[in-house]
C-alpha cells in the first residue's frame, strides 16, 4: 500500500496525530496481512482485537479516572478511520465495543462505571449493544424483550437479533421493556454479562460482508441479573439509546471515510499501472473523471464527519442532525466509491485476489446498521422541521 501525503491538513494536535499513527501502525502490520483470510473463513478477528487492546485503543474515549485516554468523539473517529482502511469488519467490532458501553457512560451510576469502564479501557472485556429484534429494526420502539423485578433481581425474557460482537463480548447493554403499557417511555437498559443464568447465544450469521465481525442472536430465557445492573432510571431506556446513537454515528461515518480511502488508493494505483490502448488507463478522461469524483466525495465526507465529531466534543446542545448527516453522507459515499473502485479495476476488481470486491461487500452494511440511511434522513428532516419552527 502506498503511503501518501495527506491531501488536506486538519490541524491535528500531537495527541491526535499519535492516535492516527498508532491505529495505522496496527492496521498496516496486523490487519492488512490477515483480512482476506478472515473474510474467506468468516472468522472473528480475535488476535487483532487483542492487538488493539495492547495498543490502548479501546481506552480512547474512556475518562482518565477510569484508566482511559480521556478522548472524545473526534479521537474515536480518527482511530476508526485508520482501522477501516484495513478492514471494516475489524473496525465494526471495535466500534461496537464503544456502542455497547456508551449507555453506562451516558446514564450509568458511579458504581456501574467503576465496575465496567476500567476493564473496557484495557480491552480485557469487550462490549456489545443489544437493541435490535426480529420485530424491531428501524422501529426500535417495537422491542418486545421484557424485564420484570423479582426481589433483588431483574428477570429478562426475549431475543435480540443481529448483534455485533454477539458471543465474543463479555458485557452486553440490553434494551428491555420494564413497563410495556407505557410504550416508548417504558423501556430501560440493563447490563447483562456472559455467564448470567438464562443468557445464551444463537448461531453465528453468514453475512455478505464484514465477515470478520461476529453477528449473533442473544437469547434471554428467565435471565436473572442483580438489581444494580439497571443503567440510569427506569423508563429512560430510549432516551439513552438515542443519545448513544447520536454519539456513535460519526464513527460509522468515519468507517465509510477509511473504507473509501482504501478503495481510492487501490484504484489510483491500479489505473497508473494498467496499460490499455498503449497508455496507462489513468490517462483517459473517463477514468480520471471517475477518480476525481471519488476523491472529491471522499474529502467532502471526511470534512463533514470531522466537523460533526468536533461539534459533539464542543458539548453542543443539538447534535442529532449533524450526527445523522455525517453517517448518511459518508456511508452513501463509501458505497459509491467502492463500487466505482471495482469498476476501475475491471475484471481484476471482480476477483477475490484483489481487495476491492471485499470493500464493496463491506460497504453495504454501513448504509443499513446504526439506523438505516432512510432513518437518518428522517432524523435530519425532523430536526430541520424543529429548527425552522416559527
Amino acid at each position: 500500500m502506498v503511503e501518501k501525503e495527506k491531501s488536506v491538513d486538519y490541524f491535528l494536535t500531537e495527541d491526535q496525530q499519535m492516535i492516527v499513527e498508532t491505529a495505522w501502525e496496527l492496521t498496516k502490520n496486523k490487519i492488512l496481512p490477515a483480512r482476506a483470510e478472515l473474510d474467506e473463513k468468516n472468522e472473528f478477528a480475535t488476535a487483532i482485537m487483542k492487538d488493539i487492546a495492547r495498543a490502548d485503543l479501546f481506552g480512547i474515549f474512556i475518562p482518565e479516572e477510569y484508566g482511559g485516554f480521556g478522548g472524545g468523539c473526534f479521537d474515536m473517529v480518527l482511530a476508526m478511520e485508520q482501522l477501516a482502511r484495513g478492514c471494516v469488519g475489524v473496525a465494526t467490532s471495535f466500534a461496537a465495543c464503544a456502542l455497547g458501553i456508551y449507555p453506562v457512560m451516558i446514564a450509568g451510576s458511579r458504581e456501574l462505571k467503576e465496575k465496567y469502564l476500567p476493564r473496557i479501557a484495557t480491552g480485557e472485556k469487550w462490549a456489545a449493544f443489544g437493541l435490535t429484534e426480529a420485530g424491531a429494526g428501524s422501529d426500535a420502539s417495537g422491542v418486545k424483550t421484557t424485564a420484570v423485578l423479582d426481589g433483588d433481581h431483574w428477570v429478562l425474557n426475549g431475543t435480540k437479533q443481529w448483534i455485533t460482537n454477539g458471543g465474543e463480548a463479555q458485557v452486553y447493554s440490553i434494551v428491555a421493556l420494564t413497563d410495556p403499557k407505557k410504550g416508548a417511555r417504558g423501556a430501560s437498559i440493563f447490563m447483562v454479562e456472559e455467564g448470567d443464568p438464562g443468557f445464551s447465544y444463537g448461531k453465528k450469521e453468514n453475512k455478505m460482508g464484514i465477515r470478520s465481525s461476529a453477528t449473533r442472536e442473544l437469547i434471554m430465557k428467565d435471565c436473572r441479573i442483580p438489581k444494580d445492573r439497571l443503567v440510569g432510571r427506569k423508563g429512560t431506556g430510549f432516551i439513552t439509546v438515542m443519545r448513544t446513537l447520536d454519539l456513535s454515528r460519526p464513527g460509522i461515518g468515519s468507517l465509510g471515510v477509511g473504507l473509501a480511502q482504501a478503495a481510492l488508493d487501490e484504484s489510483v494505483t491500479y489505473a497508473k499501472q494498467r496499460v490499455q490502448f498503449d497508455k496507462p488507463i489513468i490517462a483517459f478522461q473517463a477514468v480520471q473523471h471517475m477518480l476525481a469524483d471519488m476523491a472529491t466525495q471522499l474529502e467532502a465526507a471526511r470534512a463533514l464527519v470531522y466537523a460533526a465529531a468536533r461539534h459533539i466534543d464542543a458539548h453542543a446542545k443539538k447534535i442529532s442532525k449533524v450526527s445523522a448527516m455525517s453517517k448518511v453522507f459518508a456511508t452513501d459515499m463509501a458505497m459509491k466509491v467502492t463500487t466505482d473502485a471495482v469498476q476501475v479495476l475491471g475484471g481484476y476488481g471482480y476477483m477475490k485476489e484483489y481487495p476491492v470486491e471485499k470493500m464493496m461487500r463491506d460497504a453495504k452494511i454501513l448504509q443499513i446498521y446504526e439506523g438505516t440511511n432512510q432513518i437518518q434522513r428522517n432524523v435530519i428532516g425532523q430536526e430541520l422541521n424543529k429548527e425552522y419552527a416559527g
Binding site: E14, D15, M18, I19, E21, T22, E25, L26, N29, K30, D51, R54, A55, D56, L57, G59, I60, F69
Partner: protein, 259 residues
C-alpha cells in the same frame, strides 16, 4: 532483572541510493529506522521484564537524532533511554564501537542481561554484540531464536544453526544477539507513546563515560572504509526467449563447456 538493549538507528535500506559521483550512500530523503534486529531484541527484553520483573534500558551510540529510536523503544516498553553521543565517536568501526558501548554500559550499571540484534542492516558485520561480550568477559550466544528459561542466575536459549538449533545454557550475567524468528514485536501503544514523549533521554559524551581518546572514533578504529562502489556489470549478456523447454535446452548448451 536489569536488562540493557543496544539499538542502532540505521537508514531504511529500501530507500538507499548510491551517489555515483562520490561513491557514498546518498542520505538525502532517506528515512531512518530502528535496526530491525534490534527491534526484536527490545521486544524480547520487554517480554522477559514482564515475566520476571525488572527494568529495560535502551542504549545507543549515535548522532543526536538517534534519540528518535530511543523514544520509539520507550513507546514499545523500555523503561529508560541512554544516548551516547560525541563528535569524537565519528568514524568508529566495530572495535571502537564495542569499546564505547562497554564504557557506557559500565557507567549505567551492571546488567544481568545485555541483548543485541544479530547485526545492523547497514554494516552487516554482526561483530558489535560479540565485541561487547568479549570485552566484558561475559558468556554470550549469537543468533538466538528463542529464550526457553530465564532464572535468577542462568538463562537457557535456542541458537539457530543452518541445520537446526542448539540448546545452550549460560550463567548470568550474559549477552545474547537475536534473530528475527525470536518474536513478533508489538505495536507501540498510546500510553507508551505518551511516556516516550515525556521521557528524559540521558545523553552521555566521551568524558561522561571515561572513554580514552585513542580508543574511540576514527582514532580507535583499526579498520577504515576506504571506498564504497557499485561493481560494474561485466561480460556478455544473453536473453533466452521461447517456451520453457526451448529456454532450458539453450541454457544447457551454454553450460556444457563448463561442466
Amino acid at each position: 532483572m536489569e536488562i540493557i538493549v543496544c539499538v542502532k538507528q540505521v537508514p531504511d535500506t529500501k530507500d538507499v541510493r548510491l551517489d555515483p559521483d562520490t561513491n557514498t550512500m546518498s542520505r538525502e530523503g532517506v528515512t531512518s529506522i530502528m535496526n530491525p534486529f534490534d527491534r526484536h531484541a527490545l521486544e524480547e527484553a520487554v517480554r522477559i521484564k514482564e515475566e520476571q520483573g525488572g527494568r529495560v534500558t535502551v542504549l545507543s551510540m549515535g548522532p543526536p537524532q538517534a534519540e528518535e529510536v530511543l523514544r520509539e523503544a520507550i513507546a514499545c516498553g523500555a523503561d529508560a533511554g541512554v544516548l551516547v553521543s560525541d563528535r569524537a565517536f565519528a568514524g568508529a568501526d566495530t572495535w571502537a564501537t564495542s569499546y564505547t558501548l562497554v564504557k557506557a554500559i559500565e557507567t549505567i550499571g551492571n546488567p544481568d542481561l545485555i541483548l543485541c540484534g544479530k547485526q545492523a542492516i547497514d554494516g552487516d558485520t554482526a561483530q558489535v554484540g560479540p565485541g561487547i561480550a568479549s570485552r566484558m568477559g561475559r558468556p554470550y550466544v549469537t543468533c538466538v531464536q528463542k529464550t526457553r528459561e530465564v532464572g535468577a542466575d542462568h538463562i537457557v536459549v535456542e541458537r539457530m544453526m543452518d541445520d537446526g538449533y542448539d540448546v545452550v545454557r549460560l550463567p548470568l550475567p550474559a549477552l545474547l544477539t537475536v534473530v528475527k524468528d525470536i518474536n513478533e514485536p508489538r505495536i507501540p501503544s498510546l500510553k507508551g507513546k505518551m511516556r516516550a514523549k515525556k521521557a528524559v533521554i540521558t545523553t552521555l559524551g566521551a568524558a561522561d563515560i571515561g572513554a580514552e581518546e585513542q580508543c574511540i572514533g576514527l582514532a580507535g578504529s583499526p579498520t577504515q572504509v576506504v571506498k564504497v562502489f557499485s561493481p560494474e556489470p561485466r561480460g556478455d549478456r544473453a536473453v533466452f526467449t521461447g517456451s520453457v523447454d526451448e529456454q532450458v535446452d539453450r541454457l544447457v548448451e551454454c553450460l556444457k563447456p563448463f561442466i
